[in-house]
């Protein structure tokens, strides 16, 4: 030994230490690989999609992409210049320049215009299904946490919730198709989609709500009951209000899931294209019984049904970008809100 140890516990490099360090690096690599993959997906879509959504000059946002319906894109050469325009613009152009009527053009379906109807459809689907899911889920959680006494029935309910959480979304789609679309005769409609999606997120909402209800201290209930409040008064005035922020936060995760699912709405609520916007119905009663366009289904259509090339890529990445942004915002807000509320609601 050239340099003598200073004391008995002096740490010395040895094989065990080296292998430990190597193993830790391996674990670290696994973690960062996962992060890198996630980042890769986000990055690619953000980078490429930003080109569609943003533009160089003011107002910097491609507003038509958010306010127009999808259209076919026409590419043609006219009087030596190359034009790219959507279906409506092309028709107007042809009226203005009669000579252009005969020009040979290439068309790319869904590649022009925007995704407004899809956004509207997704919002409608999310709002409706989450309303149903929240009502059912919160009520069920209140029962489970406040009223239920342990017994066979409750064990059944809990088992059902657990199993429901594991059922693949496509099976929910099939079920919704079999029950709402065919048996109830609702056809492909908002209503069918609402219920299918609501049942799908029900376990998430119930579990989340129960957790929040559990977090409300027992003293609140006892204190209220000792003052002569009925059970219902206690729950309404002294339990649910304090659990509500928690319930809502966790439910946002459910919203992200509802907004992101494609399989359940494929046969229950989504149309590939629909010219009319949801509110353009003749009778108010028809509102619930109309199919809608939806962002996830639109992505499915534009990514699988139309070929990849420079022109179609714009709408593909743009839609994915907007969709991812929406879902990411929902998810991020839930995480932030959770952290915020955690520090605020302590008793």
């Amino acid at each position: 030994m050239s340099a003598p140890a200073v004391h008995r516990f002096q740490s010395q490099p040895n094989a065990a230490r080296r292998s430990e360090r190597a193993a830790f690096w391996l674990f670290r690599a696994a973690t960062y690989l996962v992060l890198a993959c996630g980042l890769g997906v986000f990055g690619t879509i953000f980078f490429k999609g930003a080109g569609t959504v943003f533009k160089a000059e003011a107002p910097f946002i491609n507003t038509t992409f958010f306010t127009d319906a999808p259209e076919s894109l026409y590419i043609f050469e006219f009087e030596g210049k190359k034009y790219e325009m959507g279906d409506r613009a092309f028709r107007a152009f042809k009226e203005k320049h009669p000579a252009a009527a005969k020009v040979k053009s290439e068309s790319y379906v869904y590649s022009a215009g925007g995704i407004f109807p899809c956004i509207v459809g997704t919002v409608l689907l999310v709002v409706g299904s989450m309303t149903i899911a929240l009502v059912l889920g919160v009520c069920a959680a209140i029962y489970l946490n406040e009223y239920a006494r342990d017994g066979l029935f409750i064990r059944f309910v809990r088992l059902a919730i657990l199993n429901l959480a594991g059922v693949p979304s496509i099976v929910f789609g099939l079920f919704g198709f079999g029950m709402f679309v065919i048996y109830f005769g609702w056809n492909v409609s908002l209503l069918a989609g609402w219920f299918t999606l609501a049942f799908m997120v029900l376990p998430v909402v119930i579990t989340a709500s129960e957790e929040s209800l559990k977090a409300v201290p027992k003293g609140f209930r006892e204190g209220s009951l000792a003052l002569g409040a009925t059970k219902w008064q206690t729950i309404r005035k002294n339990v649910v209000p304090y659990a509500l922020p928690g319930i809502l936060t966790s439910s946002i995760l459910g919203i992200a899931r509802v907004a992101g699912e494609t399989a359940p709405i494929m046969f229950t609520a989504a149309y590939v294209v629909r010219d009319k916007l949801p509110w353009e119905v003749e009778k108010a009663g028809e509102f619930l019984f109309q199919g809608v366009m939806a962002l996830p289904y639109h992505i499915y259509v534009v990514s699988s049904k139309i070929p990849q090339n420079d022109y179609t890529e714009r709408v593909q990445y743009g839609t994915a970008f907007v969709f991812l942004l929406v879902v990411a915002l929902i998810a991020a807000s839930s995480i932030l809100l959770r952290n915020h509320l955690r520090s605020r609601y302590k008793w």
Binding site: R149, G219, A226, G228
Partner: protein
């Protein structure tokens, strides 16, 4: 305290008086009218038996927690339950306003608890009404995360009282009653959670007396408080005994000695001795009691 007097006189609203005045205790209003309950606490004169427990057996699931309890609690007196942990004193206390109903698998197997001669475990008894008459203060102070004002008015609002002037009056009266008025009168709208531990507990007491119960059950109200706060609460109990029948569970024998009129000593689910406090502490009839109060076990 002079200001409080007329308010006190005002509080019993005419509604309850109309429905039950002059009738037998068993007269039943046929419809549930949300009303401020009758200030029953003022009905029974001091020294009369208010709560009559006889041959009470009580079970948690299969284990028996109380064995053949016989006890008469007098009106407008402070009764203390003492005994080592797990002796059943808290259980008995919670039986008095049926808070044990909230726990799964509990049941009264035998015996009766009568308040004003009414067996409170009869099926036709409305638990909610019972709890309005028999208030409770818990071991751990549990103010609701609302403003002080809302904490106090919670019980009355439940009964449908929304008259702002009346509520204001009750808040002041209750807070004064709980000796808290001077400390919080300027911040009634701030959260009850912002008070100190002792203040919180007194807030809970104020909340309990706001609904004008007849009996106040206190489950170790001072166990989480420092000596100064404890002293204040004890002082409060002394004041409250003039208007309410108080049953207090305590670990602290000095406390029982200081503020109770009668004391019951429990051991292993049985009532060992029940007598005037002075007798229990100076001349216990039972050897176990003597051992406990002189600190030899427990």
């Amino acid at each position: 305290m002079v200001t409080a007097a007329p308010i006190l006189m005002d509080t019993p609203p005419s509604a309850s008086a109309k429905s039950s005045a002059g009738k037998s205790p068993f007269s039943l209003p046929t419809v549930a009218v949300p009303s401020v309950s009758a200030p029953g606490g003022l009905a029974a004169p001091a020294g009369e038996t208010l709560v009559d427990i006889s041959h009470l057996d009580f079970f948690y699931q299969t284990s028996q927690a109380l064995h053949d309890i016989n006890l008469k609690i007098e009106a407008k007196k402070v009764t203390a339950f003492i005994g080592p942990s797990g002796c059943g004193k808290s259980t008995l206390l919670r039986c008095l306003n049926r808070m044990n109903d909230l726990i799964d698998g509990t049941r009264v197997a035998r015996g009766t608890i009568k308040i004003h001669g009414v067996d409170i475990y009869q099926p036709d008894v409305d638990v909610i009404e019972l709890r309005k008459r028999v208030g409770m203060v818990f071991q751990k102070s549990n103010p609701f995360p609302k403003s002080i004002y809302e904490n106090i008015t919670y019980g009355l609002r439940l009964q449908g009282l929304n008259d702002k002037a009346k509520l204001d009056a009750v808040v002041e009266k209750s807070l004064r009653g709980a000796a808290l008025w001077d400390e919080v009168k300027d911040r009634l709208d701030s959260s009850g959670l912002g008070l100190s531990g002792g203040q919180q507990q007194r807030l809970c007491i104020a909340r309990a007396i706001a609904v004008e119960p007849e009996v106040i059950l206190m489950d170790e109200p001072c166990s989480a408080l420092d000596p100064v706060a404890t002293a204040k609460v004890e002082e409060l109990i002394q004041e409250l005994r003039e208007r309410f029948t108080i049953v207090i569970v305590t670990h602290n024998m000095q406390q029982a000695a200081r503020c109770s009129d009668t004391t019951a000593f429990f051991y292993l689910g049985k009532l060992i001795e029940f007598a005037a406090t002075r007798d229990i502490f100076t001349n216990p009839a039972n050897a176990q009691t003597e051992a406990y109060v002189s600190g030899r076990f427990g």
